[in-house]
Amino acid sequence: MSQDIATIRVTRYRPEKDGKPYSQDYKVPYRKDMVVLDALNYIKANLDGTLTYRWSCRMGVCGSCGANVDGVPKLTCASFLHEFKGRTIKVEPLTHFPVIKDLVVNMDDFMHKLVEIKPWIIREKESPPEEGEYRQSAEELERYAQFSSCINCMLCYSACPVYGLNEKFLGPAATALAYRYIEDSRDEGKDERFPIVHELEGVWECTLVGECSVVCPKGVDPMLAIQKTKILGATNALKSLLMPRGGK
């Protein structure tokens, strides 16, 4: 009985052994319910223990398993083999990031940007627990809820050609998260975040390609966040021009 087989073509890089990246094919059993991560785990368990890649929750919430599958940034745990044409599937490390080994990329740049935008509630004074919770209406929640879905998977950075051409660009996820906190009614940190997102290499580098929102697995729509941040920046700049002393 012949078994259905798929070929996973992985771009490998083993700096301790070779100088250059190379392609390696592995034959894995093909089942309708298999995702790319299953195939990678099968390879590591049965065919080649040296294959190196990141993964964790295997259900699309941790953001660890990003890779370029057939040229598109995807979570390997959320990409079924049957989504792809044919039985040969190419798996490469997430584009626009330096590669440490095999499918593992260096995330330092993103981690640095994430910390830079201060992804936490900033308040002048924290009210003590005895005063009760910070209340927020449904409308106030709606203004930032979708942007809080970000799982930091970095697929958007891989999709963004501006980031690919200019590593200094703040990028989709970092801006979307900055916007999430700016729009949160409990947050008072707009003045701290504005200089960061409105640097010349902040939102202003974005030219609305929109691919970030296309690849985002959680529907965050970072392009929308960036555009709204630009509008905030423009109205803020206009206000400071028209009312240099007053107004906030």
């Binding site: 050609p161 010349l200 630009k230 920046g233 423009a234 700049a237 400071s240 021009l241």
Partner: protein, 125 residues
């Protein structure tokens, strides 16, 4: 907000307005002067549309100024933002300077010629 970024934010706001101008006002202008007139199509049929528009001293001149200045600004600003994507990142600052120069000269020139054509336009109707 850093000063340079504040300036850029305002320039972007103007670009945004230019985008609306280029979207709503430019198509009809291109059609009238560039296609209807030379090909003899409605509503022009060989009568010169620029003169017809300029005959309406105030709104005609305003329409031409806003459409041309707004579209020029929008077009050049947008082209500048794609410089990195076209692989021209090293020359970006220089090309941006040239672009802004063209915008400033273009807007001054169009204002100058429109005032020559309709000198009474600055006085109230």
């Amino acid at each position: 907000m850093p000063k340079v970024a504040r300036l850029h934010a305002i320039l972007w706001g103007v670009f945004s307005m230019g985008g609306f101008i280029a979207a709503f006002l430019l198509p009809v202008l291109i059609y009238l002067v560039g296609i209807a007139y030379p090909l003899g199509l409605w509503p022009v049929a060989n009568a010169d549309p620029t003169s017809a528009i300029l005959n309406h001293h105030h709104i005609g001149t305003l329409f031409l100024f806003v459409t041309v200045a707004g579209s020029l600004y929008h077009g050049i600003f947008r082209f500048q933002s794609t410089l990195t994507e076209l692989g021209l990142a090293p020359a970006k600052r220089a090309l941006e300077a040239i672009g802004y120069l063209i915008i400033i000269i273009g807007i001054l020139v169009v204002a100058y010629y429109l005032l020559l054509l309709n000198p009474g336009v600055l006085s109230l109707p």
